[in-house]
């Protein structure tokens, strides 16, 4: 796989609000063409980081670059941004609002109108083109906002909790659209608390805690960092003491083993058999991001 260039570069980012330091020396990259998960508990500074990256907040220190320079709507890459705080011109019609944003993004009026009409048909809002936005349901408004976000084939998609407010059906639709954008070559940076989505979509992630990166790398690397692989073992004999694993649980012959980093699964199985453990089932698992998230944030995540 060819080495990919970073599209987003954040170095030593620090953000203070009054006496409070929200972000303290955060650094990470988002590579061109990848889908990047920006994870953290509520209030951990994810939205602040995105706002600073997009020039809405001034950083206290550090550099935040997109394509090698601070973000500017006129000079940067084509951006699609779905903010956490959702909103559009509520008194305007759906189609007028979409065409306006399309024009601002550089599309011609006819192109923006055609694109918007097609998109609205796709998300089952074809009959709402002339409806005022404030007459739509929350979920319908979310769809319109997503449409505005992905207009004009963005090179960089920044999605701050994109599934917030979507029901499971529409969440699936949204994820399909994000995957399409990814396939079309867009770099996607998303904030989400849906860890299954992260495991399915993201190439790499950063976990933000106390204003700094607690973990950073590919999903597999992060999983390995937090215990990596576990193995479910059904056994009849005693499990040997070993430096290759630690026993997480062992109830009625069904044990959960947490493997030490670098442990070879075949060697482990052989070690157990040699020790007379009587293994009848040996099922390896990767540790879920969900459990890692719970471990990292503990009670804080629920705040």
């Amino acid at each position: 796989m060819p080495q990919r260039e970073p599209l987003v570069e954040i170095r030593d980012f620090r953000m203070d609000f009054g006496q409070a330091t929200v972000i303290a020396g955060l650094s990470f990259d988002v590579l061109t063409g990848e889908t990047f998960g920006f994870l953290g508990s509520n209030g951990s500074g994810k939205t602040t980081t995105i706002r600073a990256l997009l020039g809405i907040y001034r950083p206290t220190a550090g550099t935040l670059h997109i394509a090698g320079r601070p973000f500017s709507p006129r000079r940067s890459v084509r951006l699609g941004y779905l903010p956490e705080e959702r909103g559009l011109y509520k008194k305007e019609s759906v189609i007028d609002t979409m065409v306006y944003f399309g024009r601002l993004k550089g599309m011609t009026a006819p192109a923006a109108r055609t694109w918007s009409a097609d998109y609205l048909e796709r998300v089952e809002l074809g009959d709402k083109q002339k409806a005022r936005l404030d007459t739509l349901s929350g979920g319908q408004q979310q769809k319109v906002q997503l449409g505005v976000t992905i207009m004009d084939d963005p090179e960089l998609l920044i999605l701050d909790e994109p599934t917030k407010g979507f029901d499971p059906v529409n969440r699936r639709l949204l994820m399909g659209i994000i995957e399409e954008q990814k396939k079309a070559g867009a770099t996607v940076m998303m904030v989400t608390h849906q860890m299954d989505e992260v495991e399915r979509l993201c190439d790499r992630v950063v976990l933000l805690k106390d204003g700094a990166a607690r973990a950073y790398g590919t999903v597999t690397e992060v999983q390995e960092e937090f215990g990596g692989t576990t193995v479910t073992v059904r056994h009849t004999g005693a499990l040997p003491a070993s430096g290759s694993f630690r026993v997480l649980s062992d109830v009625e012959g069904l044990a959960e083993l947490d493997l030490a980093r670098g442990t070879d699964l075949g060697a482990l199985l052989a070690e157990l058999m040699d020790a007379g453990a009587g293994v009848s089932q040996f099922t390896p698992h990767r540790r879920s991001l969900d459990s890692i998230f719970v471990e990292v944030y503990g009670e804080q995540a629920g705040e």
Binding site: F17, Y57, R86
Partner: protein
């Protein structure tokens, strides 16, 4: 990404404003009201005039006595009158209803009233007695003078035409004041009509939570300038809508409403005065717009912004209260202060410019000062919008915002 989105912003803002029903209701309310008042005044005026004419020409049987010797028996007879030398008998006949009225013309009608005794025919119809008595006396006197010109002069029909000179050239008088004075009216109307819209221009983004979407799509400066330009276009439309019924009303009803006859051909345009006025108007508009946009950027809602924007609008009105001083004593310290204080400068300097009391040096200072102040306030408005409009629910901490390192 589009190099410049000014046109897109202006078109969007103008179209969405002009296609709103509430805009036209608000805009048409005042001219429609003016039209209704015009119509009522015209109808009333016509009706009064017609009634007065009819009353003066009313024909009824009356008797009169003439101590002045001015009343022509032939004219009185033509109006239905007959002379009665016995005043008591005439009064008694009128009181008893045998005749409609009895007029006593005094010895000196220029200082004494005509005494009328008559049958009551209602508050308004009773006016015919007064009208006929006066008509009989006036017609008799005119006949006595003999020469219609003398009669007109005696009735006070005298006009004057004055020409004054300044530095050896005709000064022009009111004809030179009216054109630059239009800037004062324009500025006041634009601010009165658009002040609230200027304030709401950026509050809308905040209240709708659309700030982040918009700020990552277009430069804040382009957005603000686009909004200001669109406000100007909307203001022009409103002024046209306002002006149309006034102009039509003036042209159609000026006779009925006794408007002064303005000969527009005599209006004198001094290029210097007009250019100075235009520059002050532009600077003032930019300054006030920038200030209102800035207020909108730091306040969470229009309601919260109201008191501060109200204070700003008061600075616009203050010069009106001291207008007599501005006109009579432009050198007074208070007038000088208001000429150079940025927020009172537009109105004060525009009035002084129209009256010819704003010196060239003063005009230059005011124009430069307004341009600099407007630029600073607009820059501030853009910064506040960029930083402050993200604070959706609370007032912006200005000190914290500017303390933060860039």
């Amino acid at each position: 990404m589009a190099a410049s989105n000014l046109g897109t912003v202006v078109r969007f803002e103008v179209v969405r404003t002009l296609t709103k029903r509430r805009f036209w209701v608000a805009t048409l309310f005042v001219p429609v009201l003016i039209g209704v008042v015009f119509a009522l005044v015209t109808l009333s005026s016509r009706s009064t005039s017609t009634a007065a004419d009819q009353q003066a020409q009313a024909h009824f049987a009356f008797e009169y006595s003439d101590a002045s010797g001015l009343v022509s028996p032939a004219i009185a007879r033509a109006a239905g009158g007959q002379e009665q030398t016995d005043v008591a008998q005439g009064v008694a006949a009128a009181r008893a209803g045998r005749i409609a009225a009895f007029f006593q013309f005094p010895a000196d009608p220029s200082t004494q009233p005509i005494t009328i005794t008559a049958q009551d025919v209602g508050v308004f119809a009773n006016g015919k007695y007064d009208a006929v008595a006066q008509a009989v006396l006036k017609t008799s006197v005119t006949e006595r003078i003999g020469d219609p010109k003398l009669a007109t002069l005696a009735a006070g029909g005298i006009t004057t035409r004055t020409t004054t000179y300044k530095d050896g050239a005709p000064a022009g008088g009111i004809a030179t004041v009216i054109p630059p004075l239009i800037y004062v009216v324009l500025f006041f109307i634009v601010m009165a009509l658009l002040g609230q819209q200027m304030l709401a221009a950026t509050l809308e983004e905040k209240e709708n939570r659309v700030t982040e979407m918009i700020l990552t799509t277009i430069e804040a400066r382009s957005l603000i300038i686009g909004k200001i330009l669109s406000l100007f276009v909307v203001g022009l439309v409103q002024m046209l809508v306002f002006a149309l019924p006034v102009v039509v009303g003036y042209l159609v009803f000026r006779d009925q409403l006794s408007f002064p006859q303005l000969d527009l051909a005599h209006l004198t345009l001094h290029p210097g005065q007009m250019i100075v006025g235009a520059l002050i108007l532009a600077g003032g508009f930019a300054l006030f717009t920038g200030a209102l946009v800035a207020i909108g950027a730091i306040m969470p809602t229009a309601k919260d912004a109201g008191p501060i924007s109200g204070a700003l609008i008061i600075t616009l009105v203050v010069p009106v209260y001291v207008s007599s001083l501005i006109i009579s004593d432009p050198g007074a310290p208070i007038v000088q202060g208001m000429t150079f204080f940025p927020f009172t400068a537009p109105m004060t300097a525009l009035v002084r410019n129209a009256l010819g009391s704003l010196g060239t040096g003063e005009a230059v200072i005011v124009i430069v000062e307004l341009a600099v102040a407007a630029a600073i306030v607009l820059w501030l408005a853009v910064q506040l919008f960029k930083r402050g409009s993200i604070e959706y629910t609370r007032r912006v901490d200005l000190r914290g915002m500017f303390r933060r390192r860039g």
